[in-house]
Amino acid sequence: MGLAKESQFHVLAVDDSLVDRKLIERLLKTSSYQVTTVDSGSKALQFLGLNEDDQINSNQPSVSVNNHQEVEVNLIITDYCMPGMTGYDLLKKIKESSSLRNIPVVIMSSENVPSRISRCLEEGAEEFFLKPVRKSDVNKLKPHLMKTKDNNHQKQGNKEASETTEVPPPPPPQQSNNNKRKAVEAEGLSPDRTRPRYSGLTVV
């Protein structure tokens, strides 16, 4: 009932390896997810609208209601070993952010280090995949994504939550209906657009 495009989940994949980005993108797309890939943790944070220090503007990582499938991120999957900001660092920053902490995060690593795995899970990662990642791993993402759809409606969220599985989408201008967050510029989201969100990214 008109939910086709809007109900597509959007996954942000973070990996410094070109080969692995290509692979994860394909894997996610075969599960019909919309995918954005970035090559670093800092670019991921940029994309999510988070500055180094979780400021007010991070309340709205999404752009506008009308294009909510564009920047709303439903899950982040990140490599662990990356130069600069590791996947663990990224995970921490996300969980420390009031606007982003509800986004499920999955870590991938080529190394099977139990202490690393437990550290990530303790920090709030939903899953830890060993590379190379397979279809069977990607299949495990669904429940985590479904959970966030519910969260959007019940809690203080970080996304425009105008679609649900039960109710047809409300008319666009009322994004503050379902979202209890302290949305400052409700309608005037254009300032957010000036952020250099899309540099060096592959949005597909």
Binding site: S17, V19, D20, K22, L23, R26, S110, P132, K135
Partner: protein, 152 residues
């Protein structure tokens, strides 16, 4: 069915099997092929091409880094780690294996060992590159003859 097509199919299938049997490719390559379909018919070639580009870059960097008066083993290790990762992601098993030994020599800060491994990994890389290019050529031939590539 066209006997030429059958022959080409057989050639392709035999060649592919040999690559697995000789350890050049492992199951991850099969996984890649399963991700390819009519909407993404060139996926495998594309990923493998990225692997070639990436590997060549890494091998060049490794050569340079190991050629220094004072070798920066952390850099060497970082490059080998990347090469190990990408070869693993496409199923280039023999390349991946050499990388494992390579990293051990890095940990030991053993230049000689590293240089030996560098040579070995270059050899393995060249081999798998040739093999894959041949494989893709066989596939092209089969497609050109009107056949379709069987799923392994």
């Amino acid at each position: 069915m066209d006997s030429a097509v059958l022959q080409l199919q057989r050639q392709l299938s035999d060649y592919k099997s040999s690559l697995y049997n000789e350890g050049f490719l492992d199951d991850q390559f099969t996984q890649l092929q399963q991700l390819q379909d009519e909407s993404n018919p060139d996926f495998v070639v594309e990923v493998v091409s990225l692997f070639f580009e990436d590997s060549e870059r890494l091998l060049t960097e490794l050569t340079k880094t190991l050629d220094q008066q004072s070798v920066d083993f952390r850099k060497v290790d970082a490059y080998v780690h990347q090469l190990k990762g990408s070869s693993s992601s496409i199923g280039a098993q023999r390349v991946q294996r050499v990388c494992i030994y390579f990293r051990n020599y890095c940990d030991e800060q053993n230049v000689e060992g590293c240089l030996k491994c560098l040579q070995q990994v270059k050899n393995e890389y060249t081999l798998v590159k040739n093999k894959l290019e041949t494989l893709f050529k066989f596939e092209q031939q089969l497609l050109a003859a009107g056949g379709s590539i069987p799923m392994q």
